[in-house]
């Protein structure tokens, strides 16, 4: 029996900003159809890793394969076709504040000409219902919504085109613990419903355990541990132990500049 190829395969990924090395020849395999979480402290490189995978930052070296195809060697239209199968939930939602909620949710469907505007609004209202929002929200603007509601709308936009790979950037940031748990539950429910692969970055350990089947830890631009989520508190790795327990003493030293 052969093992399934990874959904995302990263090899030798490097990125530096001036003299600061952010990703240091990073290797990572993300299995398909599961929740995968990358944890790490501030400045560890997890946001840059995510932006490299999404094509928002060009790495200095390395390869990123999605479904076996190196996305870094693709031209713009090929890359847009790959992005058509990807959903992304940004940390602050990144909703378009000039558009009403329903247009935000249906944006990808309209952009890819998957449907006309007349069809898109009822579809957007259906998707909003899947994340627990009523039709009365559809015509509001993002600035009229609470933080939790904005996150739900952002999740609705991320899943609207039925992607098979969804990225989550700190999905619970800025939310109270209860709303964080609700958003995590919605993420798990929607990812399972779509049968998608979920790739998340977070430093919220409670969230990581709720949405991840597998967890990897990034430190100084390298993956230093990867394993099942249930082993995260029993990893045997002193860096992971220090991070997940939130201890100030340990091998990880935080750079503090005065």
């Amino acid at each position: 029996m052969t093992e399934a190829p990874p959904k995302i395969r990263i090899r030798g990924l490097s990125k530096a900003f001036g003299a600061k090395i952010v990703l240091d020849s990073l290797d990572l395999d993300v299995p398909g159809g599961r929740g995968f979480v990358v944890i790490g402290g501030s400045g560890s490189g997890k946001s840059v890793l995510l932006k490299c995978i999404l094509g928002l930052i060009e790495p200095d070296a390395g390869t990123i394969e999605i479904d076996g195809r190196n996305v870094l060697s693709m031209n713009r239209s090929q890359r847009e076709a790959v992005n058509g199968r990807i959903g992304m939930l940004f940390q602050q939602g990144a909703l378009f504040d000039s558009l009403p909620v329903w247009e935000n949710v249906a944006f990808g469907l309209l952009a890819r000409k998957m449907m006309r505007r007349a069809e898109a609004k009822p579809r957007a209202i259906e998707i909003l219902a899947q994340v627990g929002l009523g039709p009365d929200v559809a015509d509001l603007y993002p600035s009229e919504l609470s933080g939790g509601m904005q996150k739900r709308v952002a999740l609705a936009r991320a899943i609207a085109a039925r992607p098979d790979l969804i990225f989550f950037d700190e999905p619970t940031t800025g939310l109270d613990p209860i709303m964080g748990a609700i958003i995590d539950a919605l993420i798990v429910e929607q990812v399972e419903r779509l049968g998608a692969t979920a790739f998340s970055i977070t430093h919220d350990m409670a969230s990581a355990q709720r949405i991840g089947n597998e967890i990897a830890m990034i430190h100084k631009g390298k993956i230093i541990w990867q394993g099942p989520a249930e082993r995260i508190y029993d990893s045997g790795n002193p860096y992971v132990d220090q991070f997940v327990r939130g201890m100030s003493e340990g091998p990880i030293t935080m750079e503090v500049r005065g």
């Binding site: 928002l56 940004f90 602050q92 504040d97 944006f107 990225f167």
Partner: protein, 261 residues
């Protein structure tokens, strides 16, 4: 000696920075222009921008033009009276408005109003990840955000200048007839007598170039905004200042192209 070297190094750094910025703006403009003719097109966004830049700028451009025409008539009259050339007031007003004041004042007004708004909007979108979100939704941000603004500003500025030309001449006419006691028919005759097509066309060409510059600088500064609210504020200021300077620079260049002997 060291102080002199430091001074020269600072001048050199500034010069290099200026050249690099000019190159970066030129590349940005070239990329945006390459997308103007390639689908997908966003007619709904283009129409919205034309309304925003053109229709909503009408009051400020109209007021500026009418008062400029009025003051121009008054100033010309009091100045020309010194050598008994009051009869040239109507001609001076119409040539000044169509060749210079119409396009330049409309350009500077729209730079303040629209250049700042574009930079602030795109800058906010940049720092709140909305521009990255467009990319992840298979939408080219240059095509979606920059091209409609560039095209709309280039089209509507000449239309605004036609309005400014008419109202500027009207302002001069009102002062000329009501205050300086010119005969209305004579004033209008003097207005048309020396006006040539080239005078109006040069103003409209200037307006189109100024519209392009305003949108380009607004988009460029906003698109490359960094560092939260402070970065957006800086982008807004830079957009207005750089557009205003470029408008005045290109005003001379275009005048030279049209009228230099």
């Amino acid at each position: 000696m060291n102080a002199l070297l430091d001074l020269l190094a600072a001048i050199g750094r500034s010069a290099l920075g200026l050249v690099a910025a000019a190159g970066s703006v030129a590349v940005f403009a070239a990329v945006a222009l390459s997308h103007v003719v390639r689908p997908p097109f966003y007619p709904r966004l283009l129409a919205r921008q034309m309304m925003e830049i053109g229709y909503f700028s009408l009051p400020v451009v109209a007021l500026t033009a009418i008062f400029s025409g009025m003051v121009l008539a008054l100033q010309s009259y009091t100045g020309f009276a010194r050598f008994s050339a009051e009869g040239a007031v109507a001609t001076v007003v119409v040539l000044s408005i169509t060749r210079e004041l119409g396009p330049v004042l409309a350009g500077l007004m729209v730079a303040g109003r629209i250049g700042a708004a574009i930079a602030a909007e795109l800058g906010t979108m940049r720092v709140t990840d909305q521009i990255d979100a467009l990319t992840t939704l298979s939408t080219n941000p240059i095509k979606y955000l920059v091209v409609p603004r560039l095209v709309a500003a280039t089209i509507v500025l000449p239309l605004l200048v036609i309005v400014a030309d008419i109202l500027g001449v009207l302002g001069g006419f009102i002062v000329g007839v009501a205050k300086l006691e010119f005969n209305p028919a004579t004033y209008m005759q003097r207005t048309w007598e020396f006006l040539e097509v080239q005078d109006v066309v040069s103003g409209l060409v200037k307006a189109a170039v100024f519209g392009f510059i305003i949108a380009l600088m607004g988009c460029y500064q906003g698109y490359h905004s960094r560092g939260g609210a402070q970065g957006v504020g800086a982008a807004t200021t830079n957009a207005v200042v750089s557009a205003s300077i470029l408008i005045l620079t290109f005003n001379y260049v275009i005048t030279e192209l049209f009228f230099a002997r």
